[in-house]
């Protein structure tokens, strides 16, 4: 079956195509050349429509223990957003922490065809994959979290060589079925278990005498040397702490040129100026990002309203718990592996701090020059639910809308920002970079995020509309692996995406110390920790897609 999308305006940054009118042909789930015999089975007239590849959310909490704690603890939030079963769709619910089925449906309806869970605790990876397996349509994958796990810290305390650490990282990525490596408050989750309440970049874990800076260097080097395409995904020290911009600047310097992705940078860009001792550090951070080409960021934009924060950063979540709204929260130490904290939160536009957080996120978007190195996220659901992306896109693309919003916020916060003077408006091409081509490149998804021949036919078709929120809320068509799943903003077919992973080779000798570590200290056997390929494939609905490593990657 050959489908032709005729006459659309194509935005395909991977191929430098910026509003190029051309036809796209789809066969067997792939984008193909025009048929030599001209024979077409189905033609869809998309003249005048905007065509991009399917959008990729490279940081969204969609599966795993802490997300499910958030779901279970928020029945009142779900009750406001119940969804009926239809002939096509299972019932579901949720706004801040939606059910897995609803998550997949909503992403697809917005033109997203992939989402990546950024905080997969290795011991909890099995659950993360179970939940992602129950998330329809979109592709998925996860970043395994290391850095507060006792095995790594023991290795570092024993001053083991980089090769041993690379081996452990490779082993972990394989057996947690992960696409990348994440670190959350490096060493800090572990330090909290020893009752340390903060951990600056050069502060030592009291038991291991290891600092976050050293952890970042070791893990970033491991990812780089193994050839894992996605740079180390870093949730830095001191999240949410006024003045943490200095930590973030130090972190950028401290990585010494190695590739590093700083996630939800907005939460790490705070100064201490002004009457409220809370100010924007966005200009300095953006300047550092612009200067250091090894750095990529996603923003973690906050938007106003009720949500829930779910994080592996037990230390910082505990500190933030007094702000819980409604007043309930969970903290967990987990398996000498990591931890988590779940704190519901309501961002208020008349709060000085929340208003400034909103501004800091937008300032960052507008002051980072290169759209290939900054990504559109709300750190779903931590800054806002992912369903607010069309609104966020409008804020970026429409200066007058942005400034109208700005003028309604806490007056003192307005005085503390230069946002109103920033004239930049994102173009459709910029949006296509940051939500498609750039994201696929950052994650090393070889055949996604572009519209060239051979690419997976994940395609979104929009009607151009000056109201960008409206435009990005309801695409005309969404194709997932060549199948039309959305028409006129409504789901018409349910498919099940693949799970993207990397499989760096490792030396089996690593299993000797791991075996004795599990036997002596754990309550689970090493063999039972490993997640088999069969578990991902399960009853045949799931599948694994192994992404290639960078050339030159080695153990």
């Amino acid at each position: 079956m050959l489908t032709k999308l005729t006459g659309g305006r194509v935005f395909d940054p991977e191929h430098g195509q910026n509003d190029v009118v051309r036809d796209i042909y789809i066969r067997d789930g792939r984008i193909v050349d025009a048929p030599s015999d001209g024979k077409i089975d189905e033609e869809i007239d998309v003249r005048g429509k905007i065509i991009m590849s399917g959008a990729i959310d490279m940081h969204t909490h969609i599966g795993g223990g802490k997300v499910n704690i958030a779901r279970t603890m928020l029945p009142e939030d779900h009750a406001e957003a119940l969804l009926e079963r239809t002939e096509l769709m299972r019932s579901g619910c949720g706004h801040a922490a939606p059910s897995t089925l609803t998550t997949g449906y909503r992403y697809a309806e917005m033109g997203y065809t992939a989402g990546f869970e950024p905080a997969v605790l290795p011991v909890n990876a099995r659950q993360a994959h179970m939940e992602m397996a129950d998330t329809p349509i979109i592709d998925k994958g996860g970043y395994a979290m290391l850095g507060s796990d006792d095995f790594l810290l023991r290795m570092m305390a024993a001053n083991e060589d980089q090769e041993a650490i690379n081996n452990y990282v490779a082993w972990t990525l394989n057996h947690t079925q992960a696409l990348g490596l994440k670190v959350v408050n490096p060493g800090g989750i572990n330090a909290f278990k020893f009752n340390q309440r903060k951990l600056d970049l050069d502060e030592k874990n009291t038991f291991y005498n290891v600092s976050p800076r050293e952890i970042l260097q070791r893990l970033s080097r491991a990812v780089t040397e193994l050839g894992v395409p996605h740079p180390l995904h870093v949730h830095g020290c001191n999240l949410g702490v006024p003045g943490n911009k200095d930590t973030t600047l130090d972190t950028i310097q401290g990585i010494e040129g190695l590739p590093m992705h700083l996630t939800h940078i907005q939460f790490h860009s705070y100064g201490t100026e002004g009457d409220f001792k809370f100010s924007s550090g966005a200009a300095e951070i953006a300047e550092a990002i612009n200067r250091n080409k090894n750095i990529t960021v996603d923003v973690g934009q906050i938007l106003f309203g009720q949500t829930v924060t779910a994080s592996g950063d037990t230390m910082r979540q505990f500190a933030g718990a007094p702000h819980a709204h409604p007043n309930k929260w969970v903290g967990m130490d987990i398996e000498c592996d990591a931890g988590c904290g779940v704190v519901p939160f309501k961002y208020k536009d008349q709060s000085f701090v929340n208003a400034l957080q909103w501004m800091i996120g937008l300032e960052t978007f507008l002051m980072v020059d290169d759209p290939w190195r900054i990504f559109l996220t709300t750190d779903h659901p931590n800054g806002a639910p992912f369903t607010s992306y069309p609104h966020l896109i409008k804020l970026l693309m429409d200066k007058s809308f942005r400034n109208d919003m700005l003028s309604t916020l806490h007056p003192e916060a307005q005085k503390a920002t230069h946002l109103a003077s920033l004239d930049r408006e994102y173009s459709l091409y910029d949006i296509a970079i940051m939500t498609r081509a750039g994201a696929a490149k950052l994650l090393g998804l070889a055949d996604r995020g572009h519209l060239g021949v051979g690419a997976a036919a994940d395609i979104t078709v929009y009607t151009d509309d000056a109201d960008r929120e409206k435009m990005f809320s309801k695409p005309d068509y969404v194709f997932k692996d060549g199948q039309m799943v959305v028409r006129k903003g409504e789901l018409v077919k349910i498919t099940w995406g693949t799970t993207h992973v990397v499989k760096p080779e490792y030396d089996g000798s690593i299993e000797k110390p791991l075996q004795s570590y599990f036997d002596e200290f754990h309550t689970m056997k090493m063999g039972n920790f490993k997640i088999s390929d069969d578990e991902i494939v399960d009853d045949g609905r799931g599948s694994l897609t192994v992404q290639p490593l960078r050339q030159g990657g080695k153990l």
Binding site: I69, L101, N195, K328, K525, G527, N528
Partner: protein
């Protein structure tokens, strides 16, 4: 991974029969006979060794084919005004299939363990908690307070696996770990240290536990308590526990919802959880709720991610509605609100359905016997014996793979429920 070796011996076998899900069992399989050779206990031995008897489905006591049974169940669902899917003793995929069927048939879901599980879930939904997991406890606990619970009767290997390992990762002297039972005394000596030091027991009646726990919290917070004794316990003794909690580097407070059976035990648990949060203002302390056997944790987890809500969720309005009171399965049966009960209990022959006027369908473990023969009985495979599966441990953080140990030919709960849904 469970590697089958010669002589039908399997190593590193996971037990789904107890909430701590020990995964170091050695099991021998000869034909359909399963024997726990090593690391067995009073829960896992009957769990694995209960013999196979029934292999055929029955309708009204008459043997029928699986197809016939499935079609009959689908017919019952099609004609039901208010079905209830209860029991829910199953694994990951069984829970997924039950959710899909409930959604399709507008059923209500509840588990046989919900009364106990909800003593914790209600706290999560009202104020939350700070908890820890088994491996953290194994390596870090220096003071364990057990509240109103005889751990070893339900979790026979808890102390061996979690409290008294040979060594801790952090150089702690294991023998120095202190244990205090508050409320109920232990039934045996599993909590006695390797060096022979017995746990301290501070007893009171369960009815007095809410008051005792409230006073403990007050003392932890430095409040002045006038009473000289509470629930028969000298206030000074409770103050001693408060001091130990505050002085510990990593205190752990454990309870089992299934053993706290006083009215509104969730409030007692909530008091403990709020106190734990307060202790964490100065030192570390965590809760360790025990429970979660036979798929209990698993089905609540799956229900939460697929519908947003744990058990006690109804799909009767064609969307999930959660109500921990109205959707309590036993209440619905007692009030005559249910005309069809589908009961799933694949782990335990003792997990029989409640007697009810509602038409009853049972997917049960082979060998289950009934006071009253149900309309339909299908013997289903045991996850982790007859088919592969996955199960969650009590701490919710860890889930484990269950392996197929024998070829009994019994269908899985997933197979049956999926076939029923497709036949609707």
């Amino acid at each position: 991974m469970t590697d089958k070796q010669q002589d039908g011996i399997f190593h590193d076998v996971v037990s789904p029969f107890c909430g701590i899900a020990s995964d170091d069992l050695v099991v021998q399989v000869e034909g359909n006979t399963v024997t726990v050779k090593e690391q067995g206990d009073s829960v896992t031995r009957p769990g694995f060794e209960t013999p196979l008897t029934d292999l055929s489905p029955r309708i009204k006591g008459q043997e029928v084919s699986l197809d016939e049974a499935v079609r009959h169940i689908a017919g019952l669902f099609n004609n039901s005004k208010q079905p209830l899917i209860g029991g829910m003793g199953t694994d990951l995929n069984g829970a997924r299939a039950a959710m899909a069927l409930a959604d399709h048939s507008r059923a209500t879901l509840d588990s046989q363990f919900s009364d106990a599980a909800f003593r914790n879930i209600l706290v999560l939904q009202d104020t939350g908690y700070m908890t820890t997991t088994l491996t953290e406890v194994r390596n870090r606990v220096d003071f364990l307070l057990v509240v109103g619970t005889d751990i070893e009767s339900a979790f026979p290997r808890f102390f061996e696996r979690v409290v008294w390992p040979k060594e801790s990762m952090f150089g702690q002297e294991i023998e120095s770990r202190e244990i205090v039972y508050l409320g109920k005394a232990p039934s045996g000596t599993a909590s006695t240290s390797p060096g022979g030091r017995r746990a301290e027991v501070v007893e009171c009646s369960e009815d007095d536990l809410p008051e005792v726990v409230a006073v403990l919290r007050a003392l932890v917070n430095g409040k002045n308590v006038q009473a000289e004794s509470v629930g028969g316990i000298a206030t000074a003794d409770i103050a001693g526990i408060a001091e130990k909690l505050k002085g510990a580097s990593y205190g752990v407070i454990s309870w089992s919802g299934s053993q706290l059976n006083h009215d509104h035990a969730e409030v007692t648990i909530q008091t403990l959880c709020d106190m734990i949060k307060e202790i964490n203002n100065t030192t570390r302390c965590n809760g360790l709720p025990l429970g979660g056997k036979e798929g209990d944790t698993t089905v609540n987890a799956v229900s939460s991610w697929q519908s947003g809500y744990p058990m006690r969720t109804s799909f009767s309005r064609n969307m999930p509605d959660y109500d921990p009171y109205l959707n309590r399965g036993q209440r619905m049966l007692d009030e005559g609100e249910v005309d069809l009960l589908l009961w799933v209990s694949s782990f335990n022959t003792a997990g029989t359905p409640p007697v009810t006027d509602a038409t009853t369908v049972v997917l049960g473990r082979s060998g289950m016997t009934f006071e009253e023969e149900p309309e339909v009985f299908i013997p289903v495979g045991v996850p982790g014996i007859d088919h592969a599966g996955r199960t969650f441990r009590c701490d919710s953080a860890v889930s484990l793979p269950l392996k197929k140990l024998r070829d009994s030919g019994l269908p899985s709960t997933f197979d049956v429920l999926t076939a029923v849904e497709q036949a609707l």
